[in-house]
Symmetry: C2
Subunit: 227 residues, 2 copies
DNA sequence: TGACTGAATTATGAATTCATAATTACGTTT
DNA sequence: AAACGTAATTATGAATTCATAATTCAGTCA
């Protein structure tokens, strides 16, 4: 009976961690906003204990900040943090690209090709939502294709911190075209299974995305009200 | 009064997270071992609530694994996990090396030089303990020198998972000499502020360390008893 | 009228309690 | 005596309670 796989029934606090993290990542809970335990408890229909456990985890992941005796607030993504995060993400994506070239089956590559076509189509249709989704799927597939759980989990955390819905509205036409071009070249490297080449391009792609964000932030001057 | 710095009185569960993590990292709590809440509560003199919050955080950091209704166990570092972790760490160290070259002041480099000399001295004295300490200090200083908190925190987590005391006993004379040589070359690159060169060497250094660990594990056949 | 003091309220950190799943101990049956 | 089934015990997930730090608000005085 050593083969028996443990049945996975998610415990209450695990469920809450996921739910709350999603609320932060998809920008339902805005940065700097207070996270009142009471309201969330009645919203989710749970007691404070599992919710507080979840908040502690979210805090260690960096999605919320805890102030002693003053509860939790959604973490602000400061410019400094962006500047720290992107170089790290870009290196993780580089590694992912290299490993994906080595580990992906032909079927996996074909699947990414399909999503790439979806993305290009969304680009021509100027469908930001569809583009965003396809883009995310591609990166996700490449990370998964690396078959490295540590890489995947750390990437997921960092990507979650940075991926706030509002960033997408910052996508300029110029940068959008550039990004598409970068993806085309990435696909070529992937088809050729040029591991180092793909890694290099993915790193660059991330750093270019980074530059575009910074530019948009400097131009738009994100209000970032109150504390 | 806007300059008033909030006084930092660590909350109970934060303290516990650190304490418990240390117990795991320094191998006081052995991999696979059960982490009984009751005993730890009376050992630390706290109630179950903060301790359980701490365990949730430790679990999200990967130091313990929680099984529903069956409590927490110290996470085992499997071979697969080592194989996943080292490539990621090596890339983080590579980035750290590049950034450290760019950001470290001369004084910072001099400090690392001093610790390097300590390390070489410990090597010649065959003092594994002192060597280990100096080595860790050097890597730590380089990571800190990168001045990237995201990089630092993620590196710390991964290093903590891998850094179990017993690994040091695996250090063969051959590998030890090799490691010293690698460090010598790293120092040369750092002095020259050759960012890419140092990054490259640090990546390699980590992967060589990785290979040595794997070799030792395969040879020694770590017993890894019970589940 | 506006700023300060202090009580009342609220929210949070932590302890305790409760319900239930898991484990252990025991007795029965073959 | 071994194996199964069931009851007793234990440990855990979650709710509730308690103590205290923060915040709010009313009242006072300049």
């Amino acid at each position: 009976m050593t083969l028996t796989q443990a049945i996975k029934r998610p415990t209450l606090h695990e469920e809450l961690v996921d739910r709350l993290r999603n609320l932060v990542v998809d920008d339902t809970l805005k940065p700097g906003e207070k996270v009142p335990e009471k309201e969330l408890c009645e919203a989710f229909g749970v007691s404070r204990t599992p919710l507080r456990e979840a908040l502690k985890v979210l805090a260690s992941e960096g999605f919320v900040v805890l102030q002693a005796n003053r509860g939790a607030r959604v973490a602000r993504v400061t410019r400094q943090e962006l500047e720290d995060t992107f170089p790290v993400i870009s290196r993780l994506e580089q590694l992912a690209g290299e490993l994906a070239c080595a580990h992906l089956e032909d079927a996996g590559i074909a699947d990414i090709e399909a999503r790439h076509r979806d993305m290009v189509q969304a680009y021509h249709a100027r469908d930001r939502q569809a583009y965003f989704q396809a883009n995310q799927d591609i990166h996700q597939a490449l990370i998964r294709g690396a078959q490295n759980e540590i890489l995947e989990s750390h990437h997921k955390l960092l990507a979650g911190r940075v991926r706030r819905a509002r960033f997408m509205v910052n996508l300029s036409d110029e940068r959008w075209a550039e990004a598409i071009d970068e993806h085309e070249r990435m696909m070529a490297k992937l088809r050729a299974r040029d591991a180092d080449g793909l890694g290099q391009l993915m790193k660059l792609h991330m750093m270019n995305k980074f530059a575009a964000h910074i530019k948009a932030i400097d131009a738009g001057g994100d209000a970032e009200p109150e504390g």
